[in-house]
């Protein structure tokens, strides 16, 4: 696990990544109800670029993405503890978020779009790395 960035930088990266993903879905859902215009299309493109850039900087370049996907046989005992804790945390957060989201969509009687589903899968997949990026000290 090579995390050269300071914890503050990593936390900023996490916030930007999650916020850009959330705004991307929010604008998409808003435009689905109302109407798409040039401003929202440009905003969506910009948000996608911001998400991709912050994802690369926070998770790929730091080695976190590789770390979280390593087989257990290639991790030492502390790393197994760290990944286990992060997966448990990710499971709880994802379950609560998804349940609340599905409940909200059921209440407002709106069908779930594929963009939301893809974003939720992406969200579930990055959550363990988010936990490690947020909690692990500088190494």
């Amino acid at each position: 696990m090579e995390m050269r960035k300071s914890i503050q930088n990593r936390r900023t990266g996490v916030v930007i990544t999650l916020l850009s993903l959330f705004c991307f879905v929010l604008i998409f859902e808003y435009c689905k109800i109302t109407q798409w215009n040039v401003f929202f299309i440009v905003t969506e493109i910009v948000l996608f670029i911001i998400f991709s850039a912050s994802f690369m900087a926070t998770f790929i370049k730091t080695g976190l993405w590789v770390f979280i996907h390593k087989p257990l046989s290639k991790l030492d005992e502390r790393e197994i503890t760290v990944t286990s804790r992060s997966l448990r945390y990710a499971y709880i957060v994802f379950t609560v978020t998804t349940l609340l989201l599905l409940l909200s969509f059921a209440v407002i009687n709106t069908p779930i779009d594929i963009v939301l589903v893809v974003s939720l899968i992406l969200y579930a997949h990055i959550l363990p790395a988010v936990n490690i990026a947020w909690t692990e000290k500088e190494i």
């Binding site: 696990m1 030492d76 005992e77 502390r78 790393e79």
Partner: protein
């Protein structure tokens, strides 16, 4: 169960043996960052890892690890 903090002398023993964190990590089979965590006493090693570390330093486990804050070895020798 809340685990107790385990104090250790890894940092001083490693420097005494002129080993880098990477070298010690290779000898005991962990990532070098784990050695950093151990030295800062932010991670309690398993019994297996503790024994592997004690084998590298050729010292008994209880001389390297303790549940009580450790006094420097030099002070122990002076007392004797």
């Amino acid at each position: 169960m809340e685990s107790r903090k385990i104090y250790n002398r890894i940092a001083i023993l490693r420097k005494e043996k002129s080993l880098t964190r990477n070298e010690l990590a290779d000898k005991v089979g962990v990532n070098f960052q784990t050695i950093g965590y151990l030295e800062r006493e932010e991670y309690n090693p398993s019994l297996d890892l503790a024994f592997r570390i004690s084998e590298v330093f050729e010292l008994p486990v209880d001389l390297i690890f303790s549940t009580e804050p450790l006094t420097p070895l030099s002070q122990l020798l002076t007392k004797k």
